[in-house]
C-alpha cells in the first residue's frame, strides 16, 4: 500500500486505466474509448505532439547538428545501451531513453540490450513496421514439442482480430496463400527492384517450399477513407520513419490510435506519469487503481478505475507487477503461479549473408522504400529438421549502395571521387529472425537494493541463448549463403554476430498466457487468472515467440482483450 494523494480529487475515477501509450496501449485506449468507457492513459514519458515534435523530420544531413552524429561523450555517458540500435542519431535521440537515468542490471557475461523510448507514443514511433500474422503452427508449437505451456488460443481465435487491426492500421502487402504466413487485409504491396525480382525467381525455382515476398509493413500505400479521416496520408518513400512522419503514413499511436481515441472525448492522457504499482483491493479481489509517480516532481498520486490494462512494454509491465506487492500477493500482483518474470524471449538475429550481383548495371531505383523483402519460415513445416526445433524467416533486400561504400574501397583522389558519383554494383542482404524457445531460466526480477530516481526497484535481467538458438543461428548464415549463391551472387560473405538478446527489440514473455493458473499469469482473454479486472496485452503476455515480428499480434490481442473486457464489464462479471 502506498500513501498517495489524488492527481485531481474531482476526476481521479475512470472506467479504465491504460498504462503505456505504445502500440498496445494506443490500441487499448482506442478500443475502450470507442466502446464508451472513460479512459485514463498513463505515459511515463513526455508529451509528444504528432508532427510538431518530430524534430528531425525532413532534415538533410547538413541541417542536423554534426551532420547527424551524436557527440561521443554523450553516446558513452547517456546512450551506452541505446547506441546499439541502428536508429539512434541526432534526428531521433529525443525518442530514446537515457541509459544513465534508467538503469537495469545484467551479469557481465550475459548482456541484454533493453532499447526503450519514453514518450507519448512510446516505441510505436521507432518501430521497423514489419507486420506479419502468426499461423496455426505457431500457436500449437509449445504443445507439440513440449517447450513452454500451451497457448490458450489458436489461430482461429485471433484471425478476425488480425483482420480488424490490419484494416485500421493499414498494412501493405501481397497475398501469397502461404499456410505459415496467412494473408491479411492488405493495402497494395510495395515494389521489388530488378535484383529482388531476379533473386525471388531463382530462390523459388531452386528451393521448393521457399518463397520470397515483399515485406508486409504498416505503411499507407493507398490510404482508405478511414485513414484519411484521421488525417493520415500516403507514404512518401523517404525512409526516415523513425524520425516521425507528419503524413501519418506509417502506423503509430500518434498517427492512428490516439487520434481515434481522442475523438470520442472519452480519453484523458497523463504524461510524465510513471506507474509505480497496481493497487489491490483484497475485499473485492480486484485491482482498484494505479499508484503514479510524477516523473518531474516525484509526487505520488492514485488513479482509480474499474478495469486496468497494463501495456507498459514487456519488461515495463512485469516490473510494475513485481512491484505491486500486497498481503494477498507478496511476490507481485497476479503472481500466485510464481511464473511472473520468467520465460523471457527475444528473436535471435544478426546472422545471415551479403553478396554482390554482377548484372543490371544499367538499372537503378528511385525513392527510398521503407521496407525490404521477406522469406517466410520454411524449416520444420512439412518435414522435421533434425538440427533444431521451430524456425526462422529472412529479411533483407537488394540495393545499389552510394557514397557510403567509400568506407571500404581503396583509392584516393579523382578516381575515388568519380567512383562515388555513381551507384555501386547491386548488393543483396539476407538476415535471419528466428524463434527463441521459452525457458524458465530467462527471467527478470526486482533488485533488492537499487532503486531508480523515482524509488522503483530496478530490474535484473538474465537472458541467454541456448543450444537450439545457437544451432539455428548457424543454419541461418549457411542458408542465406546458399540462397545468394544460387541466385547468381558473387563475393558472398556470411556473418553471425552474437547479438545480445533484447537488441532485436522483440522482447516477449514474463507474464505469459496459458490454460492453467498454476503455470501462467493470464488466461485466453489476456486477463489475470488471479485478478479478473487486470488485463495485460503487451509483449509480456506471449507464451512463445514464433519468428515473425510481433507487433501486429500485440495489436490483435489488445483489441480482442478490450472487447472481452468490456463485455465482462457490461455483464457485471468484473
Amino acid at each position: 500500500m502506498v500513501n498517495v494523494k489524488n492527481i485531481n480529487s474531482n476526476s481521479n475515477d475512470f472506467d479504465a486505466i491504460v498504462v503505456g501509450s505504445g502500440i498496445s496501449g494506443g490500441w487499448a485506449a482506442k478500443e475502450l474509448c470507442e466502446k464508451g468507457l472513460k479512459v485514463a492513459l498513463i505515459e511515463r514519458g513526455k508529451n509528444t505532439i504528432h508532427g510538431k515534435d518530430y524534430l528531425g523530420e525532413g532534415k538533410a544531413p547538413w541541417d542536423l547538428p554534426y551532420h547527424g552524429k551524436i557527440p561521443e561523450d554523450t553516446l558513452n555517458n547517456e546512450y551506452f545501451i541505446q547506441q546499439q540500435n541502428y536508429a539512434l542519431n541526432q534526428s531521433t535521440k529525443h525518442f530514446f531513453v537515457s541509459d544513465k537515468e534508467n538503469p537495469y542490471k545484467t551479469e557481465k557475461d550475459k548482456p541484454f540490450s533493453w532499447i526503450r523510448g519514453y514518450q507519448l507514443g512510446g516505441r510505436s514511433l521507432l518501430w521497423y513496421r514489419q507486420s506479419y500474422r502468426w499461423c496455426e503452427m505457431d500457436f500449437e508449437a509449445n504443445k507439440i514439442d513440449g517447450n513452454g505451456v500451451d497457448w490458450p488460443i489458436r489461430y482461429k481465435d485471433i484471425a478476425p482480430w488480425y483482420d480488424y487491426v490490419e484494416t485500421f492500421a493499414g498494412i501493405s502487402g501481397s497475398k501469397e496463400g502461404l499456410p505459415q504466413l496467412p494473408d491479411g487485409k492488405f493495402l497494395p504491396p510495395m515494389e521489388m527492384n530488378c535484383v529482388e525480382l531476379e533473386v525471388k525467381k531463382n530462390i523459388e525455382n531452386k528451393f521448393p517450399g521457399r518463397k520470397m515476398i515483399i515485406g508486409r509493413c504498416a505503411h499507407l500505400t493507398k490510404p482508405t477513407k478511414e485513414h484519411l479521416e484521421l488525417g493520415r496520408g500516403q507514404c512518401q518513400s523517404r525512409d526516415e520513419c523513425e524520425r516521425g512522419c507528419s503524413f501519418g503514413a506509417y502506423f503509430s499511436s500518434l498517427s492512428a490510435t490516439l487520434p481515434a481515441a481522442r475523438r470520442t472525448n472519452n480519453l484523458t492522457i497523463f504524461t510524465d506519469s510513471i506507474a509505480h504499482s497496481v493497487e489491490y483491493d483484497k475485499e473485492n479481489k480486484r485491482a482498484s487503481g494505479i499508484n503514479v509517480v510524477n516523473s518531474k516532481t516525484n509526487e505520488f498520486s492514485r488513479l482509480n478505475a474499474r478495469i486496468i490494462f497494463l501495456c507498459a512494454s514487456t519488461l515495463g509491465t512485469t516490473q510494475i507487477m513485481l512491484n505491486s506487492k500486497s498481503e494477498s500477493f507478496p511476490n507481485g500482483i497476479a503472481n500466485s503461479s510464481g511464473v511472473l518474470g520468467h520465460y523471457l524471449m527475444d528473436h535471435i538475429f544478426e546472422s545471415g549473408a551479403n553478396g554482390v550481383y554482377p548484372g543490371f548495371q544499367d538499372k537503378y531505383f528511385r525513392g527510398r522504400r521503407p521496407n525490404g523483402i521477406y522469406i517466410p519460415r520454411y524449416h520444420n513445416i512439412d518435414k522435421k529438421d533434425d538440427r533444431f526445433l521451430r524456425g526462422f524467416g529472412f529479411q533483407g533486400g537488394g540495393k545499389r549502395p552510394g557514397w557510403k561504400r567509400g568506407r571500404a574501397i581503396k583509392g584516393l583522389g579523382v578516381d575515388l571521387k568519380e567512383q562515388l558519383k555513381r551507384p555501386g554494383p547491386w548488393t543483396f542482404s539476407l538476415g535471419g529472425f528466428g524463434e527463441m524457445l521459452p525457458d524458465k531460466r530467462n527471467k527478470v526480477w526486482l533488485d533488492q537494493k537499487q532503486k531508480d530516481k523515482w524509488g522503483i526497484p530496478i530490474l535484473n535481467i538474465e537472458c541467454v541463448l541456448r543450444e537450439n538458438e545457437l544451432k539455428m543461428l548457424k543454419v541461418m548464415a549457411e542458408d542465406a549463403k546458399e540462397m545468394l549463391e544460387a541466385s547468381g551472387m558473387v563475393d558472398v560473405t556470411t556473418y553471425n554476430n552474437s547479438a545480445p538478446p533484447g537488441l532485436a527489440i522483440h522482447e516477449m514473455g514474463t507474464a505469459r498466457m496459458g490454460r492453467d493458473p498454476n503455470t501462467s499469469v493470464l488466461n485466453k482473454h489476456n486477463q489475470c487468472h488471479d485478478v479478473p479486472n487486470l488485463f495485460i496485452t503487451d509483449g509480456s503476455c506471449m507464451t512463445s515467440s514464433a519468428c515473425q515480428n510481433p507487433s501486429l499480434t500485440y495489436m490483435a490481442l489488445t483489441a480482442r482483450a478490450a472487447d472481452s473486457a468490456v463485455e465482462m464489464l457490461q455483464e457485471g462479471r468484473i
Partner: protein, 186 residues
C-alpha cells in the same frame, strides 16, 4: 611550423591546375591562401590544420566540381574534433596527423606540406594500400572516411555533387540508369 610561402603557392598552383568553370566556387583563391589569412581552427594547431586541409584535398580533390577543401570539410572536421569528439578521439587525431607528417620527414626529409603533390599522394596511397593494418594505416582509413562522410553529408556534396531527393513521393524499383546519372545521396 611555418609553411613556406613558396611551397604553399606551389601547391596552390597544383590545386588550381584544373580549370574552374563552376560559378558556385566562391573564390578561385587557394584553400591554403585562405587559411593562411583566416586561420580560425578551434581544435587543430595551425600546422595540423594545414596538413588536414591538404589531405582532405588529396582524398576528394577539385575536379569539374568542388573538392573537400573547397567546401570546408577541414573546417567541419575541426569543429567535430572540437565539439563532437571524445578526448580519446582528439588525441588520436593529434598524434595521427603528426605521424603522417613524420612519414614525410622520414622518407623525404621535409614536412608533408612541403612535399610535392606526387610525394604526398604516394605517402597517402601507401597508407591506403597498406597490406597489413598498423596504427598509421588504421588512422588514415578513419581520416579518409571522415573526409568522405564530411563531404557527402555537406550540402554541396549531398545535393550538388550527388543527387538529393527529400520527398520522392513513391518508390520505383526498376528505373534506367543513364550514363550521367549521379547516385542518390541519402
Amino acid at each position: 611550423m611555418k609553411i613556406s610561402r613558396r611551397e604553399a603557392l606551389k601547391n596552390t598552383a597544383l590545386i588550381l591546375g584544373v580549370s574552374l568553370p563552376l560559378s558556385h566556387l566562391k573564390s578561385a583563391m587557394s584553400v591554403f591562401e585562405i587559411d593562411e589569412i583566416d586561420y580560425k581552427a578551434s581544435f587543430f594547431a595551425r600546422k595540423n590544420y594545414i596538413l588536414l586541409t591538404r589531405i582532405a584535398d588529396l582524398i576528394i580533390p577539385r575536379t569539374d566540381t568542388a573538392g573537400a577543401a573547397d567546401i570546408g570539410v577541414h573546417r567541419f572536421i575541426d569543429t567535430m574534433l572540437s565539439e563532437w569528439a571524445s578526448v580519446k578521439t582528439q588525441e588520436k587525431y593529434r598524434s595521427g596527423l603528426n605521424s603522417i607528417d613524420k612519414l614525410a620527414i622520414d622518407s623525404h626529409r621535409k614536412s608533408f606540406i612541403d612535399c610535392s603533390a606526387e610525394e604526398q599522394t604516394k605517402i597517402l596511397t601507401g597508407l591506403d594500400d597498406h597490406p597489413e593494418k598498423n596504427a598509421q594505416s588504421n588512422f588514415f582509413s578513419e581520416l579518409k572516411w571522415f573526409v568522405i562522410s564530411g563531404y557527402y553529408t555537406s550540402e554541396y556534396g549531398g545535393s550538388v555533387e550527388l543527387r538529393y531527393d527529400p520527398m520522392p513521393g513513391q518508390y520505383r524499383g526498376c528505373t534506367t540508369l543513364n550514363e550521367d546519372d549521379r547516385v542518390w545521396s541519402t
